[in-house]
Assembly symmetry: C2
Homo-oligomer: 402 residues x 2
Amino acid sequence: MDTSTVILQIAAILIIARIFGEIAVRFSAPAVIGELIAGVILGPTLFNIIQPDGMIRILAEIGIILLLFQIGLETNIQNLAASGRKSVIVAIGGFIIPFVACYALSYYWFGLSQLVSLLIAGTMTATSIGITMRSLKDIGQEQSKEGQIVLGAAVLDDIFGVLLLAVLFDFSQNGEVNLVSTARILLFMTVFFLIAPTIAKFLSLLIRKHERVTKLPGLVPTTIVSLVLFLAWLSHAIGIPELLGGFATGLALSRRFFIPFGMSLKADSEFSDKIHNQMKPIIQLFTPIFFVTVGLSLDLSSIDWTSTFFWYFSISLTAVAIVSKMGGAMLIKENFARRVVTGMAMVPRGEVGLIFAELGRSTGLLNNEIYATVVIVIAYTTLFTPFWLKLFYKRFGKYMDD
Amino acid sequence: MDTSTVILQIAAILIIARIFGEIAVRFSAPAVIGELIAGVILGPTLFNIIQPDGMIRILAEIGIILLLFQIGLETNIQNLAASGRKSVIVAIGGFIIPFVACYALSYYWFGLSQLVSLLIAGTMTATSIGITMRSLKDIGQEQSKEGQIVLGAAVLDDIFGVLLLAVLFDFSQNGEVNLVSTARILLFMTVFFLIAPTIAKFLSLLIRKHERVTKLPGLVPTTIVSLVLFLAWLSHAIGIPELLGGFATGLALSRRFFIPFGMSLKADSEFSDKIHNQMKPIIQLFTPIFFVTVGLSLDLSSIDWTSTFFWYFSISLTAVAIVSKMGGAMLIKENFARRVVTGMAMVPRGEVGLIFAELGRSTGLLNNEIYATVVIVIAYTTLFTPFWLKLFYKRFGKYMDD
């Protein structure tokens, strides 16, 4: 595509995301909803001005990697570890319950085939770490107790999602599950999460050391972005979503992170501030492109709104998808309001759900009608959850004090 | 191309540009030379790891647009206007003299055809505004008296270049020059340079106004980048290089700029500072990608280093290209040292020269041998001028005090 067209598209995405973000805020909704709707409007659903492909998709990917980097950077690893057990429960519960419930609905109630039902169930296990954390960020709750539980759970959910996707892909291709390859992915992931932050920390110390002597401006933006993108690439090469590479890097560069053999290398809070301040505008620039692209990908144009099956299936699947996802969060020991918020935050399926749905469509397993249903469920959970979440905090936030 | 490959390429470009930039600084050379050499090494000349196309080219284009935006932003328009007459002389002299001299060399001395000679002459009229301004920036001279003369001259040279390119293209296609279309381009340009800064100023006032009330973070990075890219696109649509749109926007947002009907709207220096500070990391991130891409585009791999003609022609063309370009600067009334520096700064042909050369190759007018010669002359003027410039300042900078 022509360079100048892409440049115009980027300009358009940035300004329209901003305008709709501002409108959302004006209506007391989180800004992310505005950005998603901007995407829906610009995309194939309505005006079809911009397609979510090529350059735009790459910039969007960089956007979500950088956002997860920022979330990692701002995470207090002690808090994250403290909520670890609860995160595991929320992640496992929020994975198994929707899977079983949505499978049962598709297979037993709607009489779909086993493989199609498995794929729908898989799609509904997803949690969009991007939408979830951004929604919490928009209302300033990403560092709260429930925010940390959700963050941990969403990261784990992404890992489960990768495993499930691999299993379902095997199953759809060969009719059986290859346990060896699944175990290998799991092993790679464990190794990655042990090693990646250490690499990132080590390289960041090199950068910091160099920062004291360099006379050439622009060290932080170029080297830190390079580091984040390198680890994102590395995680992808191992089979983990790129954004988790960004998260691992952020975690490694956060103030409280230390590596076992480098305990004497105290966190340098001046350098941390520099990273924060200089990365912020870059992250703010790229992030909206991601959320607009999620909106662009929610192609609602192919939906046959007159189909009874579509309405019947999509409404029931939406209900089951939401209730079952919240069920996972009900298993932890917290006050009721916090359990509800935790569950709600896990509801958006976002771009992760779309990856599953896309697998179903590209392999021909999901026909147009079922694909459309799945997309509308993803769209509903993605577009409305941030709003409900904000509303819930406003009305019931006081019950979470303890 | 695969998203994750592009992400790795970006990471590689950023870090290698940085490393070579640091090495250049260590050897007392301007950092831009390191970035250009990083490109030569990564590109088809040596390792052929990265091609200057697709996504990388777009990011590079954004990089040079943003750099010109920054240069515009930091320009004091009164100073630029004050050096206006001298800039015009340097631009016209530095356009006509190389054109005539290089044409004469190619046509009369080397007996090349008229059209080929015209194209070579056209290539040698180019001035790389990017390399030129970056070299001055690297040695902290972009705001000096000669820096302002060079900036004005380089902008004018870019405009002349567009006109000449249009004329040569017409001539190579139809054997004649279409004066009407040339006049139309000239008219468009004049209108653009009158209107674009006014549009940019007006929109920036809207952004500033909004900035006071918004609760959504990230206003400056998204809206200012959007504005810059929009005006870059607009300038391209009119037929002007995109980077001049970036420059016009920067100029409009600079502290000293005012629009006739908005004289009461005083420059808001707090908002100016915000733009400066928040745009800086973004500009620092994108700029090296541009210079690496120029290096990538300097494909020296096809050169037959054993050809006598190649050596004979390239050495004489380099000499003529440098001397004739400096001739333009000799016409102004300044002390000798300043005239030399002004002339030297205009020498790099960079990416602008490559556009001409590419036109010649793609239309089949320049055969491989002549194309290679032109590329090596561009490479020499681009890679070595920043070094000579820095050296000259160090040795003779004192003679420029007045």
